[in-house]
């Protein structure tokens, strides 16, 4: 007698609708339009500059009518769309080490597999690689690797490291001279557009407006409950200003719209919008250090909002510019301000400066503690984080926790481990509170 085994394939459950507030939808439309601009280059004839988020000189790039393409943002998009894993493997197959930055490998793997943008069309080859070497060693090698592939011109703009917590005259002079004598003349030659410093000033004025509104949004998290999540939600908010929109009317409009939306939530006493709708009661207020994992971004976020945890401030939302301590792009000193901007981005700050920022956030935003998401393949962020954690705990008296994952490599996201760690952390906060109220 024979038996038959019936293989039953379960049907996928209908996709649950993801809740987004109006600003998130607007942001998504802006990003999509930019990808269309990039992939339409064969028709429009526009020229493209690739550059990085920290030290992104979008205003300057626009002065030459160049389109800005950011490989980190592309890697993030591929992570969110869950295709980065295969790109990383492809790059490793081509000889890139398993130990190095997965943004780089996602980017190189994407190129090897057709170089398609999120809209399914081919990315144009860059006309120039603007190597804004700011706060991350890997950037230098990344663009050397891209230069090898694209065989296009590469401009190095070296940002010195703010090791002593101050910007010196030597640093500014070095950067301004690089801008004046190397970056600008090369961009003029490649683009065929003459540099106009007044045009730069106009863009910088718009940057300042958007920066003001972004800061208002980020600082709304001081309220209880916080109307925003400054990490997971914050990543949506920083998209335009860290990407190809700083200095544009679109960015000014977006940040005004966002500010009004957040102020409305603030006035109504509402918490953040999550993919599952409004967050319930705010139970925990956290400061987060380090980038998120993008391949399981929503799952990671859910681990927070399911427990009533909201992130009130994060360091990652400062990698493309630190604005909440007063810096604004200054149209009155256009080149110096670009230098100051690059020098001040989060990953270009010394470890003691980073600790000061986190301590400040915990105190100012009345957070319950610090959570570090340590990224396996990002030494710029990760080296030193265990000392940072201890120091922040010591100076604030608030508990800290440490989880580990990766940027866009799905192999390094262990959901069960992270969830366990987070649950224990929330219990620790509860105990600390109980101890404090018993002592009172």
């Amino acid at each position: 007698m024979t038996t038959q085994t019936k293989i039953v394939t379960s049907r996928a459950a209908p996709a649950k609708e993801v809740i987004k507030d109006a600003s998130m939808k607007k942001q998504k439309e802006m990003m999509a339009a930019h990808y269309d601009r990039l992939t339409n280059v064969p028709e429009t004839g526009d020229k493209v500059a690739a550059t990085f988020v920290p030290g992104n000189l979008n205003e300057l790039i626009m002065c030459f009518d160049l389109l800005n393409n950011l490989p980190e943002v592309n890697a993030i998009q591929n992570g969110l769309r869950r295709v980065s894993g295969s790109f990383v493997l492809e790059a490793e197959k081509l000889g890139h080490s398993e130990d190095v930055c997965t943004y780089v490998k996602s980017d190189l793997g994407m190129m090897a597999k057709g170089n398609l943008a999120p809209n399914g069309k081919k990315f144009p080859n860059p006309d120039v690689l603007l190597l804004s070497y700011t706060g991350c060693f890997t950037f230098m090698k990344w663009f050397e690797l891209l230069r090898e592939q694209y065989k296009c011109e590469t401009i190095m703009l070296h940002t010195p490291y703010m090791a002593d917590g101050k910007i010196t005259k030597n640093m500014i002079e070095y950067m301004v001279k690089q801008l004046k004598e190397e970056v600008i003349p090369t961009l003029e030659r490649i683009s065929g557009v003459k540099f106009d410093i007044d045009r730069l000033r106009e863009y910088l004025k718009k940057s300042t407006k958007a920066e003001d509104d972004l800061v208002r949004v980020l600082q709304s998290a001081k309220a209880k409950p916080s109307p925003i999540d400054a990490y997971f939600g914050g990543i949506y908010y920083i998209g335009p200003i860290f990407g190809a929109f700083r200095g544009t009317d679109d960015a000014v409009d977006y940040y005004k719209f966002l500010r009004e939306e957040v102020e409305d939530r603030l006035a109504k006493g509402l918490g953040p919008v999550t993919p599952d709708g409004d967050m319930g009661k705010e139970k925990y207020r956290l400061v987060v250090e380090g980038p998120p994992n993008y391949t399981s971004f929503r799952q990671f976020w859910k681990m927070f909002y399911d427990e009533g945890a909201v992130v009130v401030a994060s360091s990652y939302t400062k990698v493309g510019g630190v604005y909440d301590f007063g810096f604004r792009h200054d149209p009155n000193k256009p080149l110096e301000t670009l230098a100051e901007y690059c020098l001040g981005v989060y990953t270009n700050r010394s470890l003691p400066m980073r600790i000061d920022m986190l301590v400040n956030y915990i105190n100012e935003y009345e957070a319950d503690g610090l959570l570090i998401n340590s990224i396996k393949s990002c030494n710029s962020f990760s080296a030193g984080q265990l000392l940072m954690m201890r120091e922040v705990e010591k100076r604030t008296g608030k508990p800290a926790a440490f989880v580990e994952s990766d940027l866009v490599d799905p192999r390094y996201f262990s959901a069960a481990n992270i969830k366990n760690r987070l649950e224990s952390y929330f219990q620790m906060i509860d105990q600390k509170r109980a101890g404090a109220s018993a002592a009172a």
Binding site: F137, E144, R147, E148, E173, P352, S377, G384
Partner: protein, 395 residues
């Protein structure tokens, strides 16, 4: 076969260097400091600092390149995740265990994000020690990167002057440059001699000789190099049927000495490498006339080694230093040996490999840590590489 008149001379010098290498308490540097009141010691990490500035302040530059395979790391691991290389954790171990308690200052050159961040950690963990991140330009124009670098050196010069209580004069600097020029010439002689007769200057011995320069006063080191060269030249040793390789990727975290020995035992003569580059970073003599800082800057910008921590502005030039090293030393292949999790070496590696492939130069690659204990896989890989070169080169 001729034998040397005094075969023990080489062994004696190597034995002395080995004692210095194994001494994780830095006894010789401690003795130097204790010999005269007011003496100071300044530690520095890879890849390069202008040691002339430290020397000119009558201080001892002390190279700190981690703890090697003999240091048990107890505290250091508590500061780093498993996915960060080993050199910072063993360096922290040296610090917290008191082995560097006689060091008056630490310099952290611009090489990678890990050493960069370690500079901030050091400031916090050892607040009473002068701690300085030494930035170097990635722009090689004299009037741009050069000006920046001169000013960075001027700041260091000022700080060191403050530390000793007296500014460093130009003449002091010129004297130090001359002293280091002589030392670098001898290191280059040693490398040339090894490339010529690697069986008479085994890689492990050359390494120990150069490594001694990280802890000895430069004048003493110069004497040691001269003596070793004389002894090694006189000490005829049997030539093996080894292939000749260039080693690359070892410019920061050091491999265990056994790893270097294993390569030769498995059939590879090391005829060039990028170990301890500080000792020969500047490829020619630094000018003595004129502004000493400007001269050091010129040498850095225009006459220094290529390595992964430097930006190469010219795509055509990328990796050519390796091809030139292979030609100069008549090497038959390249071994890429990088510390695990080393961003500069590992990100650079595919680009260099493409250049070698283009030039028809065979290569292999592996990773190590300063405390790697198991040499058998490396020996097998290097042995197979050596065999394949012997069997198939020119086929």
């Amino acid at each position: 076969m001729a034998t040397s008149l005094n075969p023990s001379a080489t062994a004696d010098i190597v034995a002395r260097a080995n004692v210095l290498f194994e001494d994780l308490s830095f006894t010789s540097a401690r003795k130097w400091k204790a010999a005269e009141p007011g003496r100071k010691v300044i530690g520095y990490m890879p890849i390069y600092v202008p040691r002339e500035l430290i020397h000119a302040a009558n201080m001892l530059p002390l190279g700190i390149v981690g703890g090697g395979d003999q240091l048990e790391v107890i505290h250091g691991d508590a500061y780093y995740q498993s996915y960060i290389c080993r050199i910072p954790r063993s360096t922290i171990e040296l610090g917290v265990s008191g082995r560097l308690d006689f060091v008056d200052g630490m310099l952290f050159p611009s090489i990678c994000d890990v050493i960069r961040n370690l500079s901030g950690m050091w400031k916090m963990m050892f607040p009473h020690v002068y701690s300085h991140y030494f930035d170097v330009p990635q722009n090689y124009r004299d009037d741009i990167g050069g000006n920046f670098y001169v000013n960075e050196m001027a700041e260091l010069r000022h700080d060191l002057g403050e530390l000793r209580g007296k500014p460093i004069t130009d003449d002091e600097l010129r004297h130090s440059i001359a002293v280091y020029n002589e030392n670098r010439r001898l290191v280059r002689d040693l490398y040339s001699f090894r490339a010529e007769r690697p069986w008479q200057a085994p890689a492990a011995e050359v390494y120990l000789m150069v490594r001694a320069g990280l802890v000895l006063p430069v004048e003493e080191h110069t004497v040691m190099l001269r003596e070793y060269l004389a002894a090694a030249r006189a000490d005829e040793r049997p030539m093996r049927d080894n292939c000749r390789v260039v080693l690359t990727g070892m410019f920061c975290e050091q491999p265990p000495l056994n790893l270097i020995k294993s390569l030769e035992l498995s059939g590879c003569y090391v005829v060039d490498d990028d170990l301890l580059l500080v000792t020969r970073w500047l490829t020619g003599d630094v000018e003595l006339e004129g502004d000493p800082l400007r001269n050091l800057s010129n040498a850095f910008l225009h006459h220094s080694e290529s390595t992964a921590a430097k930006y190469e502005p010219n795509q055509k030039e990328k990796g050519q230093h390796l091809v030139r090293a292979v030609k100069r030393t008549a090497a038959e292949g390249v071994i890429f040996a990088a510390p695990s999790f080393c961003d500069p070496a590992l990100l650079e590696r595919p680009m260099l490999q493409h250049v070698l492939k283009e030039a028809g130069i065979p290569y292999i690659a592996f990773k190590y840590a300063e405390n790697s204990g198991q040499m058998q896989p490396i020996r097998e890989q290097a042995g197979t590489f050596a065999d394949s070169i012997k069997l198939w080169s020119g086929a």
